[in-house]
Symmetry: C2
Subunit: 238 residues, 2 copies
């Protein structure tokens, strides 16, 4: 039962050396990515974690790990221009490690997770991997609670109310049988590839299934999200 997770952390945000890339922002006093990597390790101690970082951040990452004494096992791979290319870099690494034989790869399951979702819970991780084993692909999702409108394509920028119960929000980790995910990522990049499910679906080989996600599993991309993430972490400790 070999399992991998590719943790994609592409944030650069280094202008004039002053901004901290979002994956290194501090949550409860430690870089976001530590929490993310630990969430998978706590839930699945034998998982192989492949962290994809922009090439120029690998030294910084090494020094952060040593400064904070971060010892959770993981491998670091250099990423590409976009999220799509970074996931592909992670997959190429796994393919080399497992060996490219299809029969070996079809027993391996690979999750792809946003580095900036540090609050993913064990229940979500477990159920997404389990469902992927049964259905070849699975992803967590949550309902939309606000009213939703859609822009119409008229020149005036009009919009209409849509039925929000027909829509839902997709989170990560998105988990797939390794050979199916790798085949999907051999396609050329298209703008409609907003997440891994959309990449896999476009091959027509597999219909990933939805699993109930968690509202805690937020994407932390700025100080606003960081305040919320901090509050949710403390909520657990109560």
């Amino acid at each position: 039962m070999e399992e991998y997770v590719i943790i994609v952390a592409g944030g650069r945000g280094v202008r004039m050396g002053s901004d901290v890339p979002k994956q290194f922002m501090l949550l409860s006093g430690r870089p976001l990515l530590f929490h993310t990597i630990e969430a998978f390790y706590r839930c699945k101690p034998d998982i192989r974690t492949v962290l994809v970082l922009p090439d120029g951040q690998r030294n910084h990452w090494r020094s952060l790990c040593s400064r904070y004494g971060f010892t959770v096992p993981h491998l670091v791979v250099s990423g590409g221009e976009t999220r799509f290319h970074s996931v592909r870099c992670g997959l190429e690494f796994i393919e080399r490690e497992v060996g490219g034989r299809a029969e070996a790869l079809s027993g391996v399951f690979v999750g792809v997770h946003d580095g900036v979702r540090p609050l993913v819970d064990g229940g979500t991780i477990t159920s997404v991997y389990e469902r992927a084993r049964l259905k070849n692909g699975a992803y967590p999702a949550v309902p939309i609670t606000d009213s939703v409108r859609r822009f119409t394509d008229d020149a005036e920028g009009g919009s209409v109310t849509v039925d929000r119960t027909k829509y839902f929000l997709v989170q990560t980790p998105q988990v797939f049988r390794a050979d199916i995910l790798m085949e999907a990522y051999r396609q050329g990049y298209m703008p409609k590839f907003t997440d891994d499910v959309s990449v896999v679906e476009s091959t027509g080989v597999c219909k990933p299934v939805m699993v109930e996600g968690s509202r805690r599993n937020i994407k932390v991309t700025d100080r606003f999200d960081l305040v919320i993430a901090g509050a949710l972490m403390n909520m657990d400790l109560e």
Copy 2:
């Protein structure tokens, strides 16, 4: 320049007398609704605030106001079965107060706001009322940051990725010229009326316009949201 806000607080949540209706949950030690009413008063001290409460909660509300020394001016009206009916109760009150003459009502602007959005900021309130004055109707909205999927109508419960940049989330206050809003609320209730914009639009008289909302302006409906709202309030104080 007469301005009203109808604050709709329909949460019942009184089973066995043990649950606190969501509009009375404590945020920073005080009932949610106090914060909501204050947000409008701070921004527009002359606004007429009409609070619509379930009939059975009016005594409890009165005792809360006296216990906490809450003195911000507001009027209390009993609500109806659904949000739609409660807004209508608020409008009937305003109509009686202004007098039903169309020429008087066309100079009055009425906002409708969810009681459980206590973090609405002055900037949003000001700009929505201003835009409504120019365009007869306006509402705040924010973009969607997660990937979005839509259920297809096939029997297998399938779904497809949609372009999230074509969708946005609608908040309150939604503000309209009083006569237009009242006319719209004379229609019979339809399930597609999920907010006030959808009620007004269905008359074809007015195309409300969108105003940039704020991510802080969350809807607080459970303990999870309450933790987030508490963190966002403290963020302001930093």
